[in-house]
Symmetry: C2
Subunit: 268 residues, 2 copies
């Protein structure tokens, strides 16, 4: 690994990033506190003090995790991917880990290039806590009707107006979104857990957490089945259930239109 | 739940406990710092201020985790199992969680009654970190020869003199132990991880960590295959490899001779 700067043309570096969001106040600053972007910028600056804007595929909220967030920045440093991977790994805290590094065009914006995102949400059922999932799953005490939740989840598939499915902070005009996967399943390796996986073209603010909160409310009988269909028609937030806490939410995958790079192979 | 004390005869309470040991200086005090026993005793005292000795199946070291540690104590309180479960859960930090509660005879000692224990050890391969396994697996950069490690692990099965396999602090005379399971496997759900599972009648101090360190040293070519057989014969620690760090070690299961209680059923 060599970190020698040269006067080469500016280019982009694309990082795939995993993080445990439990102790971060989100990816980017909303209020106060330590952000993922803050510690990442600190690590990049150890290698390139002149680094500018970080561009991110999805600004995750406080307490939300990522298995494969995508972040890009521009640099003139001629460091190979492996050098960035090892260097940043040395400067990042254990909660944030670079998974892959690729070279892209300067100005590459993962948010604009993302054509699909997948989120996972973990639910831990029962009164018995799991210390290894503290802050990493939503623990739900009530009995859940899994079949009813699965039927409700299927109603999400396709293209709908998700105006009802967003936090008050979201002011985007167009709330039409296409959902291509919405699966709720028990995990053989963790039978007390449910995992909800949802893939869509884009997501509104708090959309996944409102969907999961509504699914759980249907599962425990607080909300009548058919709520998603009612909310598509009414566009009323009140036709849906609660907003699930951030703890169980993971940005699992971002699919880019033009990935356009060769990934650094894993070491095994 | 009712926590009313009465002058009933003293009896034992048996807890199955899971904990993330990352931030504890072990189950019981070795040096300074917060211990699992300390926070557990604090929680029990909230319910029974007169609680005495905690008896434990296996004193885990600093940084070592448990999925099913067994702890018992005596009390006169007539609280049903569910009351203990909910009460202790309310007073314990997220890193420590009661999994099951049972009523047993006063003085029941899980260490004496344990006829088998199973430990798991997690190894994360490669240079790429996993923020969700920080402090919860040993990350090994070197390429590992899995087949060689598996052949070596099989040599552990049966009854052997494990005198070479212990930390200097262990002064027990009899080091003959019987190993009934020693399996190293890749995990389909976490392909970068290896999990070593070992079941035996009793374990010496640092025995599992010395076994795992030696397996890894065989896997990366630092120790010649056949080291376990050589160490059984020589009783020399120097015939073995390094001691693995505590991070990846989990007390997975304790089998009691006379479990003698009805478990509180899980809530789903």
């Amino acid at each position: 690994m060599s970190a020698v700067a040269s006067a080469a043309p500016r280019h982009g570096i694309l990082l795939t990033l995993a993080y445990d969001g439990s102790r971060f106040s989100g990816f980017a600053p909303q209020n106060n506190g330590v952000t993922v972007a803050g510690v990442l910028r600190g690590a990049i600056r150890q290698m390139d003090p002149s680094v500018g804007t970080l561009r991110v595929a999805s600004r995750t909220d406080a307490g939300v995790h990522a298995r494969a967030q995508i972040v890009s920045f521009d640099t003139e440093l001629q460091i190979e991917s492996r050098g960035w991977l090892l260097g940043l790994s040395a400067f990042l805290p254990p909660e944030v880990a670079v998974q892959r590094v690729a070279r892209v065009a300067a100005g590459f914006n993962p948010s604009q290039e993302a054509h699909a995102k997948t989120y996972h949400y973990w639910i831990l059922r029962g009164t018995i806590r799991d210390p290894f999932l503290a802050g990493k799953a939503w623990r739900v005490h009530d009995r859940l009707d899994l079949a009813a939740m699965q039927r409700e989840a299927e109603q999400l598939l396709g293209t709908h107006d998700f105006s009802a499915f967003r936090g008050a902070a979201d002011r985007r005009e167009n709330a039409v979104r296409t959902i291509s996967r919405a699966e709720l399943s028990e995990l053989p390796e963790s039978p007390r857990c449910l995992r909800f996986a949802i893939r869509g073209d884009r997501f509104l603010y708090n959309m996944v957490r409102i969907i999961v909160g509504t699914l759980v409310d249907v599962g425990r009988g607080r909300v009548e089945p058919g709520s998603f269909a009612r909310a598509f028609a009414s566009k009323e937030r009140t036709d849906l259930g609660m907003t699930a806490p951030p703890d169980g939410l993971y940005l699992d995958r971002v699919e880019l239109e033009d990935w356009g790079h060769s990934e650094w192979p894993n070491q095994f």
